[in-house]
Structures are given as structure tokens and as C-alpha cells.
């Protein structure tokens, strides 16, 4: 299982990549492995305002439909439209494909997230 350095991680198995005020949000390798083949991504509404931890969309796999949370508060600037036709990219390249881009409302949200090392330990514990 791959965990990428330089990203922030949530307990809901989402990653956040920060570029300036923008937060790119995606699913971790751990998450896609557990979900199985992803068949549909319900993207968040553009310009929607969300609090950290809120449900912004849904991920449907052959096993189940799961909520997609945002680890940070903010406004949705864009969704990754490639996933409309190719949701399987989340399985193939979980860190290469973001699901949404948010304009962060509060950088302090990042302090509540995990580093790659902390997230690796978190996953080990979950897998037990």
C-alpha cells in the first residue's frame, strides 16, 4: 500500500494536497483498495460551501456506496471531470487523481490532519 509524503491525511482516508489557498482532495490507496472497483463518482456541487468533515459527494464501488468527506472547510472550485467517464482511475492512480479542488477557508484545518507517517500508523491500526 502506498502512502505519499507531503500530503495531509484524514481518518476518513482522504488526502489533501495544498497549493497556495487551494486544497486538492482525493482518496488514499488504502481507501481504494478497501472499496474495490470504483464504478461511479458523485462530484460535489461547484461553489458549494462545506465545513471540514462534511459530506461533499459519494463514491460507488462494486461493494458499496460511501460518502466522500472534505477534510478542510471551503468553497468547491472544481471537480475532476475525468472521473465522470473513468472512475477506475481512482483505483489505478489514487494519488494522481484528485476528486475536488476547494478554496480553503481556514488553514488551521490542516493542523487537525495527519502526516504520512501518522497516517501509516493509523492504517496499520485499522487493518488489525
Amino acid at each position: 500500500m502506498e502512502i505519499k509524503d507531503g500530503l495531509y491525511y484524514s481518518e476518513d482516508h482522504e488526502w489533501v494536497r495544498v497549493e497556495g489557498d487551494k486544497a486538492y482532495i482525493g482518496l488514499t490507496d488504502f481507501a481504494q483498495e478497501h472499496l474495490g472497483d470504483i464504478v461511479f463518482v458523485e462530484a460535489p456541487d461547484l461553489d458549494g460551501q462545506f465545513e471540514a468533515g462534511a459530506v461533499i459527494g459519494a463514491i460507488e464501488s462494486v461493494k458499496a456506496v460511501s460518502d466522500m468527506h472534505t477534510p478542510v472547510s471551503g468553497k468547491v472550485l472544481a471537480a475532476n471531470e475525468i472521473l465522470d467517464d473513468s472512475p477506475d482511475l481512482l483505483n489505478k492512480d489514487p494519488y494522481g487523481q484528485h476528486i475536488a479542488v476547494l478554496e480553503m477557508a481556514d488553514r488551521a484545518d490542516l493542523d487537525k490532519l495527519m502526516s504520512s507517517a501518522d497516517y501509516a500508523a493509523f492504517c496499520d491500526k485499522e487493518a488489525e
Binding site: H34, D37, V39, F40, E60, K63, A64, D88
Partner: protein
């Protein structure tokens, strides 16, 4: 795979010959409403039509073919005498618009069925209208909403469901306009009552709960749960999908539930899953009876009547009075078993589940390995970790052993879940044979995992591409 009936079409082939029409043509219909070209119906001879559908019918699998341990679905044997009862001309040949005086027997059956369901559940009034379990849930949650609204308690916008809930619970709450709040399960697989307490507020309309839950475990703290919900002004909804595990022993009404549904097509032995329509009656405590759908069956001066005079009713939820034929079958089922038979069926359902659970122990992980009710969850985590064989592979492999697979990947709180519900109608020999198949698959997973991953190998249709079907669904045939 054989051809579709459309692919068998040959121009000019006919399975029927209608005489010429002796009714005047509807000349006054506007052209825009008339079909300009023939409907694209398949043209097939009568014998080929019969062969086509006979072949399909022989490929289908139901409880009359074999064991069907589909968790949460209670695929028990459907006694044939119930079919006889539903086909009695007095029940089968009546019309919903007949005057009440001419259908007294049918109304009496509905009245008596309601009384029996009241006794089994401990609820005060029932509606027999909902056509299935999820429809019953919707009706029940609408009644909860109507109750709060009637009391001018207008801020209850949230419905709590456990993380182990049937998917229909959050879907129902959402459909009824509630925000769905998830309550966590504790390490024993039961509702975390502290988490529930922290979620309760004057904004919560209620809690939807199934007991035993989807792990087949009885919510031992149900009275404490009911107190927490009621103290904050919420109502308790009982999802009756698992009622087979408690009937004759414990009653939702005594546990503190305010609304409950029953699946006649699960618990009370009527066919389902393609075998017939369902029926999901709703029972309520007396203080909610005014909100029930209309009409309700009442008895006045020794005569039975349909009462539409419920001013607070949420309205009708189904055309006419519900799936009446299913009611007849459930009535016959309950009458045939009697009180002692209902209890015995429940006890055997629990015994059978525990028998399979203990026999699979050591071969498969059992995430919550203690006394269960009518079903339990096994897991393929060991097979997945050691041999790459998943719950899906085990399920597909069971097809090769002649069995319908159990429910898999549900409940979501168990990894690689396989939810097994044998029901009370299976014999010891059948259970043993199923266990042997499961043990053989566990051995196959070690010795030749590639074969398990390739299963089913003996079925007419081999492993289907479920991912491809979901990602690129082909929903209609094109020539």
C-alpha cells in the same frame, strides 16, 4: 448464453392469429396519438416462445431448487398450502370495488391478520397497505414525521441510523426529507449507547433500528436505547427484516419501539425475490394510530368495514388495500403454525444459524463470534490476506457447489463479510452439506486459489464482469 427472444425473431413468424376486428375503428382519434409504424415486437412461433421461456425458467434458482442462505432476506421455504389458500375463488376472484357486504370474508381475514400481527409484535394498530419492506419503512417514517408536525414540534429534521443498518434505513429517512445521522457500533457490534446519547437532541425525529441487528446480534441494551431516544422526544422505529429471529419470543412493542414494519414475505413465509410481490405492514402504538394510511379495516356490530375517517391520516400509500394475496398466504402460514409453531420456527432459525457458525469456526474468521440470532457474519479476511481469495470469490465458488451465495460485503462494518441466514426450514443434512461446501472452498483457497478466483466454472454463465456492467451498462438490446 442463449439468444434473447428479440434475436430469435423471424419476419412473418406468428404465435397467434387474431380474428378481424368487429369493433368500429376509432376514427376520431387524432393522428398524433396513433402509432405510425408497427411496434418492434419479436416475431416467434408459439413453440419457440414456449421453449424460450421454459429454458429461462429452468435456469432460475429459488428455494424450491435448493438452499438459499441470503443474509437478511429470510429465504425460508414457502409452504404450498399457502398458495392453495390464496387461490381459493372467494379470495382470488374478488374485485377491489366490490361492495363491503359481498367481501366480508376478505375483510375478516385482514382484520384477523392484523390482530395476529399485533399479538406477535406488541403493537396496537396496523396498516396492511405497504407493498414491501422499504415501502413499510417509508410509511412508518412518514407517520413519525406527521406525529412531530402535528405536535408543532417542527425542528426535528434528523433521523439516526446505526452504521450496521440495512441500506434502506438511511435511504428511507433521506426520502422522507430527514438528514441522516449515523450512530457508531461498539466493539461488540451493538449500538454505542454513549455515541447515541451524544447525538440525541430536540432536532432528532427518531432512531431506526433492527433487532437483532444485521450482524445477527441482539441489541441487549434496547431498553436503555429506547429511554435515551424517548427522553429527548424522539421515536423508535423497528426495522422488521429480522423479525424471524424474535417472533414468539420477544416483541418490538415491549422493547419500546413506537413503529414497526414486518415483511410478510420474509418472516411469514410468502414468496419473494421474483417469486411474488411483497407485503410490509406497519404496526404502531396507540398514540400514532390516527396517522395510519386509510382505509383501515374495522368491525362494527359484527360486520367488517373499511374506515376512511382518519382526519390525521398520512393518506394512502398503495392502490386499494395492499397486496391481498400475500396477506392470505401469511394468514394461512400463521394459522398453520399457531403460537407454538411460530416460537418453534424462531428457535430453529436461531439454532441453525449457530450450528453453521460454530462449524465454520476456525476455517473462516467470524468477526463477532458469540451466540447469534437467526444469522451471522463470516469473513474471508483470512483467505484474502493469505491467498488473495475474497468474499466475492467464495460466493462465486458456492455456485459451483450448487448453492445460492450468501449476502456479501454487508454489513459494511465487517471486512470481506459473508452474511449467512439458513432459516428454520432447512434440515440438518442440508446444513451439513452446505458446511462441507464452505470447508471445501476454504481448502480450495489454500491449494488452488486460482480456481476459486475463476469460479463459477460449472455454471452456464461464468464469472460476469460486474465492474464493467456498472461502469458501462448496456441497458437495451439493439439489433
Amino acid at each position: 448464453m442463449s439468444k434473447l427472444i428479440f434475436e430469435k425473431s423471424v419476419p412473418g413468424a406468428r404465435a397467434f392469429a387474431l380474428p378481424s376486428c368487429n369493433v368500429p375503428e376509432p376514427g376520431e382519434l387524432p393522428d398524433s396519438f396513433l402509432r405510425q409504424e408497427d411496434a418492434l415486437l419479436p416475431e416467434v412461433s408459439e413453440v419457440e416462445v414456449v421453449r424460450h421461456y421454459t429454458e429461462l425458467s429452468q435456469r432460475s434458482y429459488g428455494v424450491d431448487n435448493g438452499f438459499y442462505p441470503l443474509g437478511s432476506c429470510t429465504m425460508k421455504y414457502n409452504p404450498k398450502i399457502d398458495e392453495w389458500a390464496a387461490r381459493l375463488p372467494g379470495f382470488a376472484n374478488i374485485h377491489p370495488y366490490q361492495v363491503e357486504e359481498t367481501v366480508q370474508g376478505a375483510l375478516e381475514l385482514m382484520f384477523d391478520l392484523e390482530e395476529m400481527l399485533r399479538e406477535i409484535t406488541g403493537m396496537d394498530r396496523f396498516t396492511l397497505q405497504p407493498a414491501a419492506g422499504a415501502h413499510g419503512e417509508m410509511t412508518g417514517v412518514m407517520i413519525i414525521k406527521a406525529y412531530h408536525n402535528h405536535r408543532q414540534d417542527l425542528h426535528r429534521t434528523k433521523m439516526i441510523v446505526p452504521d450496521s443498518a440495512h441500506g434502506t434505513n438511511p435511504a428511507t429517512a433521506h426520502m422522507a426529507g430527514f438528514e441522516v445521522i449515523e450512530v457508531k457500533s461498539n466493539e461488540r457490534g451493538l449500538v454505542d449507547i454513549d455515541d447515541l446519547r451524544s447525538l440525541m437532541s430536540d432536532q432528532v425525529a427518531g432512531l431506526m433500528l433492527t433487532n437483532p441487528n444485521t450482524l445477527g446480534l441482539f441489541e441487549e441494551e434496547i431498553q436503555g436505547i429506547a429511554e435515551v431516544v424517548h427522553a429527548a422526544g424522539g421515536l423508535l422505529y423497528y426495522d422488521g427484516a429480522n423479525a424471524n429471529a424474535i417472533m414468539g419470543v420477544a416483541r418490538p412493542g415491549d422493547m419500546g419501539f413506537d413503529v414497526c414494519h414486518l415483511n410478510l414475505h420474509k418472516t411469514f413465509g410468502t414468496p419473494h425475490g421474483g417469486g411474488g410481490p411483497g407485503s410490509g405492514p406497519i404496526g404502531v402504538k396507540a398514540f400514532l394510530a390516527d396517522f395510519l394510511p386509510v382505509p383501515v379495516v374495522v368491525k362494527r356490530d359484527g360486520r367488517f368495514a373499511l374506515d376512511y375517517d382518519l382526519p390525521l391520516s398520512i393518506g394512502k400509500v398503495q392502490s386499494f388495500y395492499g397486496n391481498f394475496g400475500v396477506m392470505v398466504k401469511a394468514y394461512a402460514y400463521i394459522k398453520a403454525l399457531g403460537a407454538s409453531g411460530i416460537l418453534e420456527a424462531c428457535e430453529n432459525a436461531v439454532l441453525n444459524a449457530n450450528y453453521i457458525r460454530t462449524r465454520l469456526r476456525g476455517h473462516y474468521d467470524i468477526p463477532y463470534d458469540r451466540l447469534c440470532k437467526h444469522e451471522f457474519v463470516a469473513s474471508a479476511t483470512k483467505q484474502k490476506k493469505e491467498h488473495g481469495v475474497s468474499a466475492l470469490d467464495v460466493a462465486k465458488s458456492l455456485i459451483d457447489y450448487g448453492y445460492h451465495p450468501p449476502t456479501i460485503y454487508f454489513p459494511l462494518i465487517a471486512e470481506e463479510a459473508m452474511m449467512i441466514e439458513p432459516t428454520e426450514t432447512e434440515t440438518r443434512e442440508r446444513l451439513d452439506d452446505f458446511v462441507e461446501a464452505m470447508l471445501a472452498i476454504a481448502r480450495d483457497a489454500v491449494e488452488h486459489p486460482e480456481q476459486v478466483k475463476d469460479a463459477p466454472r460449472k455454471a452456464v454463465i461464468r464469472r460476469v464482469d460486474e465492474t464493467g456492467a456498472a461502469r458501462n451498462p448496456v441497458l437495451k438490446w439493439t439489433p
